[in-house]
């Protein structure tokens, strides 16, 4: 009986880890995509994730808990984030592409500082959370273990995003041009392609993923200020261990991160957060360029 209990708690803990990994993946894949094309670690990524979560809450509550509100929030929040990132890119960021990378990084940091405080101005410091639609509430009974439906839903969304992003970057004209521009932007420009807009859309696509991650996470955690700072470090770690710019690497990294943390809870609850970091150190010591090759 006892082993069954611990097995079931391990199973549900694993599910928590996996669904957390899916959120991390969606955010990290956006970061990785921007890193691949623009060669800039987007520090503002975490802030956009936070804005996605707050915006999702606002949309969902405006519609008064109607089930459609949830889906509109999942759609609208990433779009809002996309709009913010497009504005930031076109108004400011694009003038800096000729500069040193350090300047680009510092620009995204400046953006993160501004967006963080703007979020505080608009939404305040309260804790919020949104309710998923009825058929995603409650839990499913699998092998005698109650598994929350929403977490199972996240397990479907994560791989879907991975496949979609992979298709965009390898099978579409935009993806091919973006990858080419990452390697040699002058050559791509010489072929008559507007590289600046390619960079803009790549940046926006990555940021939309941050917003989507924020929207999707909002039913599982309390949405509050400061959630930007933790996610960005985790996303950085994931991208680094996965291999910069590699979408599948981001997936592997996220799984590793989410699962080591959730299983760590079973071993040493207080230090659960240390396990993924330790895993990162071990991996980077053995293989400094990440698990998978950078595909760009």
């Amino acid at each position: 009986m006892e082993t069954a209990l611990s097995l079931s708690s391990a199973l549900s803990q694993l599910l928590v880890g996996l669904s957390r990994a899916m959120i991390l993946f969606i955010v990290a894949s956006g970061l990785s995509f921007i890193l691949g094309v623009l060669r800039v670690p987007n520090v503002a990524h975490g802030s956009l994730y936070m804005i996605g979560a707050f915006a999702a809450h606002t949309i969902a509550t405006t519609l008064g808990g109607h089930p459609a509100g949830f889906w509109l929030a999942m759609l609208g929040a990433p779009l809002i984030v996309g709009g913010i990132s497009l504005a930031a890119e076109r108004l400011l960021f694009r003038h800096l592409y000729e500069r040193e990378h350090l300047m680009l990084l510092l620009f995204t940091f400046g953006l993160a500082l501004i967006l963080g405080d703007l979020t505080k101005m608009v939404w305040g410091a309260d804790y919020r959370s949104i309710v998923p639609p009825p058929f995603l509430q409650g839990s499913l009974d699998v092998l005698g273990t109650a598994l929350p439906r929403y977490n199972l839903f996240l397990l479907l969304v994560g791989p879907a995003v991975a496949v979609a992003l992979w298709l965009v970057s390898t099978k579409t004209r935009f993806g091919r041009i973006a990858r080419a521009a990452a390697v040699d932007r002058e050559m791509v420009g010489a072929l008559g392609i507007h590289v600046s807009w390619v960079f803009a859309w790549a940046f926006v696509l990555g940021c939309v993923l941050a917003g989507l991650g924020g929207a999707l996470v909002s039913p599982t955690i309390s949405v509050t200020l400061g959630m930007d700072h933790t996610i960005i470090i985790e996303a950085f770690l994931i991208v680094t261990i996965g291999g910069l710019g590699n979408i599948w690497g981001a997936l592997v990294g996220s799984l590793l991160f989410g699962v080591t943390q959730s299983l760590g809870v079973l071993l040493l609850p207080q230090f659960a957060i240390v396990f993924p970091y330790l895993a990162v150190v071990v991996i980077l010591t053995l293989k400094p360029t990440g698990l998978l090759r950078s595909v760009w």
Partner: protein, 327 residues
């Protein structure tokens, strides 16, 4: 073929200012002296970062981690071991340099962006430890009321200690940057391939630079303990690392005293703006983006550029623009 060591006017001014500052507690109020201390400690940290980034060209993204290691080592040695407080304060920089050696030897195998990303990762691991290891570090709350030797326990003594230590560190940094090692470092920054081709061990030089810079960051950490008598996990947070970058940018990369000036401005601005509004980071973000667009070489960078321009106008051969050495 060592360059002749004469004291330039800038050095003389700096020396004079340094000596004059020792008398600050006699004329300035308690809070002003405290602020001066904050500026000196933060400035030392920013200058140690600039040693690596401005002169070494390394993407040292998480410098604050070493600052925190220095401060926490000093704090823990003093509060948890029977060692004399001076030994604890001396252990801070050594531990920071050791952390620099360990993390640096992992980072150094990789090129710029990877270097920075791995450093953020490993530095964040240290931050997590400071935050979560409650039994050792007291977690979120940090360690407060660290007992200090009597000589530096009061505000006046603490200030004199900080001023003396920062002065010595600046002198050491200046000597290092003016030495053949410093020249090699800048050569590596400008063209690592060519340096490797003429037989310079690029990685070893960079690793040495990391150890030196993290040592000074550790000194800043220990001095923080002297100044505040406390430590807290936010010192190791990545956001703070990037704030130090802003200080270097504001004062001017490639200049020696630039980061100190930048630190002074940021510290004063934070005190001023922080008293008026809760949206200090918004102001900081706007300042940062304004700098990137309108003043990418920083305040002292302008002076340097003007000097170059004047020299060129006078018909003298101009030194290479970014080969500007210390002082």
């Amino acid at each position: 073929m060592r360059p002749q060591r004469t004291l330039s006017p800038a050095t003389l001014w700096a020396l004079g200012l340094w000596l004059a500052l020792f008398f600050a507690p006699l004329v300035a109020g308690r809070f002003a002296v405290y602020l001066l201390g904050v500026i000196l400690v933060t400035g030392l940290l920013a200058m140690s970062l600039n040693l690596l980034v401005g002169h070494g060209g390394a993407y040292q993204f998480h410098h604050a981690a070493f600052y925190g290691v220095g401060a926490y080592t000093a704090a823990l040695c003093i509060t948890k071991t029977g060692l004399p407080a001076w030994a604890g304060l001396a252990a801070g920089p050594l531990a920071a340099a050791l952390a620099g050696l360990l993390i640096g030897s992992l980072c150094i195998r990789l090129n710029k962006l990877y270097f920075g990303m791995i450093q953020i990762s490993l530095g964040s691991l240290l931050w997590i430890l400071a935050l979560r290891w409650y039994s050792l570090t007291n977690g979120d709350d940090g360690i407060h009321g660290i007992p200090l030797p009597e000589a530096i326990a009061g505000p006046g003594g603490a200030f004199a200690c900080i001023l003396a230590a920062v002065g010595l560190c600046l002198l050491a940094m200046h000597r290092i940057l003016a030495s053949p090692f410093g020249t090699t470092l800048r050569a590596i920054r400008d063209n690592p391939q060519r340096c490797a081709a003429v037989g310079i061990d690029v990685r070893r030089h960079q690793l040495a630079a990391i150890v030196i810079a993290t040592f000074f960051a550790g000194v800043a950490g220990s001095l923080f303990v002297v100044l505040e008598g406390s430590v807290f996990p936010d010192m190791l947070f990545w956001v703070y690392s990037l704030e130090i970058f802003i200080m270097c940018l504001l004062g001017g990369w490639f200049t020696f005293f630039g980061p100190m000036l930048g630190a002074a401005i940021i510290v004063l601005l934070r005190t001023l703006v922080g008293g008026m509004t809760e949206y200090w980071t918004l102001v900081l973000g706007v300042v940062l983006i304004g700098l990137i667009f309108f003043l990418p070489e920083g305040i002292m960078g302008i002076g340097h550029r003007l000097r170059l321009y004047r020299r060129r106008a006078a018909g003298a051969p101009s030194p290479r623009e970014n080969g500007h050495a210390a002082g």
